[in-house]
């Protein structure tokens, strides 16, 4: 008689993987039997994979590689050399996209040095550019703001980057070409453009312009576009290949090079200098965090589906064990379901994602009017994302598989539905993680920039909350004794079915935690923004200032331009003590308010620590200036201020002692050693009156009486205050006209604090709401499927069909509420900490929260969000579940349960 247990190994055991084949077969059939459930899980994996693959493909496609960009950047030129304005050596990558400064400093690269460094056969096209866009007058009253590029196109037209599209190349000092963008706006050949300096030039044609010059560009001889004295900023090389050696040579002289030859045939790695690494670490970490959270969310949402699948086929799995299946075989059947669903979803998602990207490419390029590279699918990325998707599904099946393998076979065979015991390990682990996250989070405030740390400490907190979901459900189930039937049934069943309900509650909790944390942080940030926003002038009025400073500005011309732009709108001059900011590093005049008895040093201590000078100067003069800032004064302060000016007192827009010294100081530019010398020009002592402003920061430090200004000297117009309640179009018109007079003039319209937070919170509630609803409804429908025998019993004892609806609604509402409460608990710690960190760093102050002045940390609990998450969402989930459930007739319920 053969002893069956000791057969020769080779006849039975094949190397590895025994039992996967039947597991896969059973899994496949089980998935096909439960189509609806399979579809739900499939979509949970498929949609994110589709989205991310499409995004990745679009980004790759939009991203123009160095080789792809050569025709646009260089035309048929061989290289472009950017002459960096600060001199000194440059380190660059072969494609010229990344650069760093090298050691040493030298003179700026000029034309002669350039020619010396290049192969003798090469021809150069030198380019000069305007720093700021310039205003060109086209015809009688049209104003066009465009960049000016000075290049001799007679020789280069048709070659290099500036290719003639229509018309002819500009030849003389009174001819220019325009970019296609401007041509489309109506600047066709024959149009006469008037330059800021009054000369005029005629448009002769359209040329293509590399994107680095901008869309709206006027090209001509340097003289034709007013760049006669501007330094050469770039040079295009034709007629000779520029080698990597040449590039390094030019680098050493301060030139950044884009060379066709080098881009097409990059030098070996060891010849490329090491560039200083940017801080992409935190970005990568944040992306990692988002991926982890997304995977967690999908795992938590899809997990219950697998748990229910395993539950539904409990008897089958027990039979598998009775037929000789080991726990690992049982585990594999459930895991194989994850593998099959995840694999199919990943493959489908990848294909679909690529298809979506291919379909969206055309419309997107038209919409964004962008130059994109050729359609590009990164096989590596797609495979990685697909693997991540499939892995997520397997991960979701992991715990259900583990639990299914641990089911007691005998009980399963006898059809018992035992309630799982609350295990201590996850609870303990959950508490530990929750605490760890909270402590890390709070401790992170001691770090300089704690945002990343807070984001990461949120992870253990959320995972902790996820682990605590079962014990919370268990505790609720045990205390359901005296509640009405639907609620009692729900809590008891949710407790009994924890392997399924806990992940759903956890998914809700994770979502709500993220939403609440983000909501608290952004809400507080916005609250601080609102509370600390300081207006620089009256809301809706434009402040026009000249360039480089008030003393050199032609105010009458600006005033006339403003009246031309906005006829009928008031135009007021604001007087103040002018302090020019010199462009050449020369002297600066400063006005200082000094406390009495302040030592006569360069900088005296004043009554105020912070104020604006958005009206052109921080020290305004006269009643007219006072009227200009009147809307920003605290209620009832204007009469006091007027009275003070009339009595010859200084109106300080903040706290002040009764008298102050006002000094005018001329400060010399710091010399090589860094020491600045100053010379006091004038000083006046005067009584001072404090006037409160509405905002945290005053629009200026003080308003002086006219007489006092006269004694100090240097009073003049510092800005124009134009109009009232200006629209964006009016602002644009004003800027156009003002730019014609002074190309450096600035127009600023104060529009008050922007309230983006409301929209952000709304989007947050919508996104969280969708996820919470998806999670709770999925869990509820799964619960109802499994509660079929219970409903059969209820039907047998005469429950009304409505009971099913009520139970369904209660189930969804309870899951959403419990998850919401847990989520708010988990999200409050990182949320509040982030609120403190954000509002604190917003001021540039850092330090432990206790040492901060209380008004400077704005922690705003978003009550509306809270009501939405804990009130509206559960009710909505309950209502949806109750409405969508079928109230099956009793007979059908009984039949189905058998």
């Amino acid at each position: 008689m053969t002893v069956l247990l000791e057969r020769p190994a080779d006849t039975r055991r094949r190397a590895g993987g025994t039992g996967w084949r039947p597991a896969l077969r059973i899994a496949r059939r089980e998935l096909l039997r439960a189509r609806a459930r399979t579809l739900v899980v499939l979509l949970m994996v498929l949609l994110p994979v589709t989205g991310v693959v499409a995004l990745d493909t679009l980004l790759r496609t939009a991203d123009v590689s160095a080789v792809e960009s050569l025709p646009v950047e260089l035309g048929d030129a061989d290289a472009r050399i950017d002459l960096l304005p600060y001199g000194g050596a440059v380190l660059q990558s072969p494609d010229g996209r990344e650069m760093g400064t090298g050691p040493g400093s030298g003179p700026m690269l000029d034309e002669r040095a350039l020619r010396a460094a290049l192969p003798p056969a090469s021809r150069l096209l030198l380019v000069r550019e305007s720093v700021l866009p310039r205003a060109f007058r086209a015809g009688a009253d049209r104003v066009v703001r465009a960049g000016a590029v000075g290049a001799d196109l007679r020789e280069a037209a048709g070659r290099g980057p500036f290719r003639l599209r229509s018309g002819r190349a500009p030849a003389g000092e009174d001819e220019v070409a325009v970019s296609p963008e401007l041509a489309e706006r109506g600047l066709r050949a024959g149009t006469t453009l008037t330059l800021p300096d009054g000369r005029s030039a005629q448009v002769t044609g359209t040329v293509s312009v590399p994107p680095l010059f901008g869309d709206a560009v006027v090209v001509g001889q340097p003289e034709a576009v007013g760049l006669k004295d501007a330094p050469v900023s770039r040079a295009y090389v034709s007629g000779a290949e520029v080698s990597w050696t040449d590039v390094r040579e030019l680098n050493a002289r301060g030139g950044l090079v884009l060379s066709r030859a080098v881009v097409l045939d990059p030098p070996p790695e060891e010849q490329v200098p090491e560039l200083p690494v940017g801080s992409s670490v935190s970005t990568a970490a944040l992306i990692g965090l988002i991926v982890v959270m997304a995977v967690l969310e999908v795992v938590l949402l899809a997990g219950p589906a697998f748990a229910v699948g395993a539950r539904r086929s409990r008897r089958a799995l027990a039979l598998l064990a009775a037929t000789g299946g080991e726990p690992r075989h049982v585990r594999r059947v459930v895991l194989a379901q994850g593998l099959l669903v995840g694999g199919s979803a990943a493959v489908l998602g990848a294909v679909l994602g690529i298809a979506v990207a291919a379909g969206a490419r055309g419309p997107l390029t038209r919409w964004a009017d962008a130059q994109w590279g050729p359609f590009e699918v990164s096989v590596r990325d797609v495979v990685l994302l697909a693997l991540l998707g499939a892995g997520t599904a397997v991960l979701a099946a992991l715990l259900p598989a583990h639990l299914a393998a641990r089911e007691p076979v005998v009980a399963s065979l006898r059809g018992r539905r035992p309630s799982p015991a609350a295990t201590a390990l996850p609870t303990t682990l959950g508490l530990v993680l929750f605490g760890l996250g909270a402590v890390t989070c709070l401790a992170s405030l001691r770090a300089g920039s704690p945002e990343l740390l807070i984001a990461f400490s949120a992870l253990p907190t959320v995972v902790g909350a996820v682990l605590l979901a079962p014990v919370v459900l268990h505790l609720l189930g045990r205390r359901a004794g005296r509640l009405p039937l639907p609620l009692r049934y729900t809590l008891r069943d949710a407790d009994r079915q924890r392997p399924r309900t806990a992940p759903a509650v956890a998914a809700v909790a994770a979502t709500v935690a993220a939403a609440f944390a983000l909501g608290t942080a952004t809400g507080s940030d916005a609250e601080q923004e609102r509370a600390t926003y300081s207006r620089t002038g009256p809301v809706g009025a434009a402040v026009v200032t000249g360039w480089p400073g008030p003393t050199t500005t032609d105010w009458p011309a600006l005033e006339a331009a403003a009246r031309r732009a906005l006829p009928g709108e008031p135009v007021r001059r604001v007087a103040g003590l002018a302090s020019d900011v010199p462009s050449d590093g020369g002297t600066v005049e400063q006005v200082q308010l000094c406390l009495p008895d302040a030592p006569r040093r360069d900088l005296c201590e004043g009554p105020m620590t912070s104020y604006n000078s958005g009206l052109g100067s921080s020290t305004l003069v006269g009643e007219g200036a006072l009227e200009a800032v009147a809307p920003l004064l605290a209620p009832g302060a204007l009469p006091t201020a007027r009275q003070a000016l009339r009595t010859g007192a200084v109106v300080v827009l903040g706290p002040t002692p009764a008298t102050l010294d006002v000094r005018r100081v001329r400060v010399e530019a710091p010399d090589e050693g860094g020491a600045a010398s100053s010379e006091q020009v004038a000083e006046v002592s005067a009584p001072a009156v404090p006037v409160q402003v509405r905002d945290a920061t005053a629009p200026a430090q003080a308003v002086l009486p006219d007489a006092l200004g006269a004694r100090l000297g240097g009073v003049g117009t510092v800005s124009l205050l134009v109009g009232d309640g200006l629209s964006v179009q009016e602002e644009r018109r004003l800027l156009d006209q003002v730019s014609l007079v002074d190309s450096g003039a600035s127009v600023f319209v104060e529009r008050g604090a922007r309230d983006d937070a409301g929209l952000a919170l709304l989007l947050l509630v919508l996104a969280a709401g969708a996820l919470v609803l998806a999670g709770t409804l999925a869990a509820t429908s799964l619960a109802l499927v499994e509660a079929q025998p219970d409903f059969a019993v209820l039907a047998q004892v005469g429950a009304r069909p409505r009971t099913r609806r009520v139970v369904a609604g209660t189930y969804a509402a309870v899951l959403a509420l419990v998850g919401g409460l847990l989520g708010v608990a988990a999200g409050s710690v990182p949320g509040l900490t982030a609120a403190v960190a954000l509002t604190r760093t917003g001021l540039g102050v850092s330090g432990p929260p206790g040492e901060l002045p209380s008004p400077w940390t704005h922690v705003e609990v978003p009550w509306l969000l809270l009501v939405g998450l804990l009130g509206v969402l559960p009710v909505l989930a309950g209502a949806l579940a109750a409405l969508t459930v079928r109230s099956t007739p009793a007979s059908a319920a009984v039949r189905r349960a058998v």
């Binding site: 008689m1 053969t2 002893v3 069956l4 247990l5 057969r7 039975r12 055991r13 094949r14 025994t18 039992g19 084949r21 039947p22 077969r25 059973i26 496949r28 059939r29 089980e30 039997r33 086929s313 008897r315 089958a316 039979l319 598998l320 064990a321 009775a322 037929t323 000789g324 299946g325 080991e326 726990p327 075989h329 076979v409 005998v410 065979l413 006898r414």
Partner: protein
């Protein structure tokens, strides 16, 4: 002849102390090849517990269970699972088959789990199905089979390959009496062909197919009936 199944003072107690429930108390039983032993007794007498112990689905509290001479107490869970793949087959009252698998795949399941190559497993399964006269139904799914056919597939699965110990728990409980008799006749035939079987039932008419009928009361074996007339004429 070696016993296929042997219980030596097998005892199974659930819980401890005053709340302890004694499912089996010191049961001795030997089942030899070619022997069908029926176990009768009222509900709760320990019939099913005995069956769970015999296939290693449950472990005895004390005493010993031997299958093909191997004491089960010496096997780990993997060893017990392997035992169920190679030596023991179960047939329950109903829903014995995995609904996701065809009849042939159900029969081949223990072999495949044991690593027998797919084709060989399928051939053995077809042979086993042929022995229960269900070869034509090989590609049908359980819900396309009648109750009696399902039980016959389950018997084929329980004895596929070289397995010789069939443990049946009320295998005809869900069938009408003629179909039930047919299933028992098949079981009898398989035993006559050399298998050993333990049949748990509370119906005397079904137990009568056995060579021996043992009676359980309160977890103890109290009597045994053995017909004077032998099975093989």
């Amino acid at each position: 002849m070696t016993a296929v199944l042997e219980l030596r003072a097998a005892t199974r107690t659930h819980g401890t102390g005053p709340t302890a429930v004694h499912a089996l108390r010191g049961v001795d039983l030997v089942v030899r090849p070619g022997e069908l032993v029926a176990v009768m007794g009222p509900s709760g007498s320990g019939k099913s517990s005995l069956l769970m112990l015999a296939g290693g689905l449950d472990a005895s509290t004390s005493g010993e269970v031997l299958v093909e001479g191997v004491p089960l107490s010496g096997l780990d869970p993997a060893g017990l699972a392997s035992l169920r793949r190679r030596a023991v087959g179960y047939v329950f009252q109903e829903l014995n088959l995995l609904p996701a698998l065809t009849a042939a795949e159900n029969v081949a399941l223990p072999l495949e789990l044991d690593g027998v190559p797919g084709r060989a497993a399928r051939e053995l399964a077809l042979r086993a199905l042929d022995e229960v006269e269900l070869a034509p139904a090989a590609r049908r799914f359980p819900d396309e089979l009648s109750g009696g056919e399902q039980q016959r597939v389950a018997i084929a699965r329980a004895l596929v390959g070289d397995r010789r110990l069939l443990l049946a728990d009320e295998p005809t409980g869900a069938l009408d009496s003629v179909t039930g008799e047919a299933v028992l006749e098949l079981l009898r035939a398989r035993v006559d062909a050399g298998a050993a079987a333990v049949l748990v039932t509370h119906e005397a008419r079904h137990a009568a197919w056995a060579d021996r009928v043992v009676f359980l009361r309160d977890g103890r074996l109290v009597d045994e009936a053995r017909s004077a007339v032998g099975w093989t004429a």
